[in-house]
Amino acid sequence: MSEEKQRGIAQATDDVRLVERARGGDLEAFEGLLARHQQRVLRVAFSILKEPMDAEEVAQDVFLTVFEKIELFRGDSSFTTWLHRVAVNTALMRRRKSKTDRSVSLDEVMPAFNEEGHITVDIADWSEQASDPVLAQEAKSVIETAVEKLEEKYQTVFVLRDMQAFSTEETAQILELSVPAVKSRLHRARLFLRRELADYFEKRA
């Protein structure tokens, strides 16, 4: 068993104990859950909202909701999954209220093919260039902007998988999606980032 998986199981077991005690009104157990999960929840909220004040309020709401409803937690998913589902939904609700969707279409993220399905244009390989420390720094800022442009359903998958390092399965549970749907959204999002980076490197050339 991988170390990561072992850690996951150990964490889930600790969560189960803490949740049981919290249900019985044990305040220390609430504090334990807060200490274990607060930072990650805040990072999720901050990644989705970008505004520190909004992220702060969302994280507060999330824990208050979860602690008030701890009786309703059925234990058929892990506490982490449940908590982050509430966090993502609360952050998205806040974002929809405060922001007009500026997301861009993911059309044309694949190269142009001819009738036989072959690529007819040159595709520049800038993967080595992107390893150059100076260019990598610029490329990262292109990525920051590109992630902002992603439609909400792609961005949330990205935040959970790549930033919070949840597994594909955990991301699927948190977002209540199938595993293939998570993989497909992540792939579409990466295709979009590749295109944005390709535009950047082509303009430099």
Binding site: L27, L42, E56, G117, D125
Partner: protein, 79 residues
């Protein structure tokens, strides 16, 4: 030989390790013989690597953590 379109449609499955051994061999053969597809694969991979680095290093302002903690402790009567 499979078309570029057919091959690139299996790109995600290839990287996830979801292709059969035969499909994988076909994919890799195509990449050896097709510079545009090979460049597409390399730049796709690089984009993913850079994105992970960017996202991992995104920091939440430290004072936010403290404020959330203090608020919740007070609200829950944990002090």
């Amino acid at each position: 030989m499979e078309s570029c379109k057919e091959i690139l449609e299996t790109l995600a499955e290839y990287l996830e390790g979801d292709l059969t051994a035969e499909e994988r061999a076909t994919f890799e053969r195509h990449m050896q013989d097709c510079p545009p597809c090979d460049a597409f694969l390399k730049t796709y991979r690089k984009s993913g690597d850079l994105a992970r680095e960017v996202l991992k290093n995104r920091e939440v302002p430290a004072e936010l953590n403290d404020r959330v903690r203090s608020f919740l402790k007070a609200r829950l009567g944990l002090d």
